[in-house]
Symmetry: C3
Subunit: 153 residues, 3 copies
């Protein structure tokens, strides 16, 4: 089974929106009750609930995004997502779209560095207005996470 | 809308040709009046005209390629392009194919290093002999560019 | 010509299986007489027979896999494969599927590092039970290979 074009586009445009610091566009990729989690592979394997970022619905994502532009103080930087090929895991209600990624951090007047590697585990929903994430889990490979996780991945 | 196979092939074979130092094959991916530019994200955002490499038609690209094999003296190295998923931006006459990339530099007896990250912004034209670039802009993420930009990206 | 979905899935699931240390699943991607080789671009260019890992059939791959879990002592680590876009090289009996890649090595409590870059050169066979590799050559870009090549790539 191949990845439907609309879902591939959703995954690609979400990465592109973050790379362009266009959080409004990124938000539009989630349903109103869409969840977003960042965790580590170790945490996920052990079934540990705690992750690095959590949003249980789109309003919590909106809060998160609002805090980036107003409250948070952080060194100006942006990301570059390199997406590996997306593949399909499971089937039926358990169907997920898996996209491994490497994210680089670009900071003015500094060398570009590898920031994190990991994979997106996505569940989506079709509606009349298009395909959106209902559940996106970002699973990071390394548990040595930079504390500077200000921008979503 | 999905990326047509012929265009995906053009993007992939251009990267592969550069990685194989096969500049003749790389050149064949451009129309006679095809333009090729390398710039930075900052320059592009500010609308600055100056970039790192410019060719306003295929003859200027031919000159560039000729200079690599004859005049330029540089440490022998080659690239490895890792292409993220290609997505489509805009529509109609403004339609572009965007391909984020990471390029590694491979030098004999030295560790492989991340060279640059960025994205291709491509416009193409169909003809009886296939699809070719009419306008390829290489937008680099970082403005700390290695001066050693001898080979096109 | 586009890459058939079944072949793209085989390439993606082989990378995912290695990243998950699921060697049994990785093995299932090869025919009984499937060959697997790891070599370098320099070796391949010079037609040198010697590579870094060799298996002339699936039984030799089984031995290799068995040795990972029983005999070999090595620092616990795993990989993250980032696959570039797959393209098709040659035609007819010479047809190969080429997938450039970057592989990162993830080690507990250590920074993630770029391990190797290179490309898969794959030949496959269709049967009633699906598509499998008959010949997979892993061509590494750099000849400065980490001696710690315990897990297949």
């Amino acid at each position: 089974m191949s990845v439907p074009v609309a879902i591939a586009s959703l995954i690609q445009s979400s990465a592109a929106a973050l790379d362009a610091l266009d959080f409004h566009h990124w938000l539009s990729g989630f349903t109103e009750y869409g969840q977003y989690h960042i965790t580590t592979a170790d945490n996920q394997r052990q079934g540990l609930p705690l992750g690095l970022m959590h949003a249980l619905n789109k309003d919590q994502l909106r809060d998160r995004i609002a805090s980036i532009s107003s409250v948070n103080v952080y060194e100006p930087h942006r990301y570059r997502h390199i997406l590996s090929q997306t593949w399909i895991k499971g089937q039926g209600l358990e169907l997920q779209y898996i996209t491994p990624f490497a994210v680089y951090r670009i900071t003015p007047s500094k060398p570009t560095i590898l920031f994190v590697t990991g994979e997106y585990q996505d569940r989506v929903e079709y509606s009349h207005s298009g395909v959106r994430f209902t559940y996106r889990t970002v699973v990071l490979d390394n548990d040595m996470i930079d504390t500077l996780l200000a921008i979503p991945l």
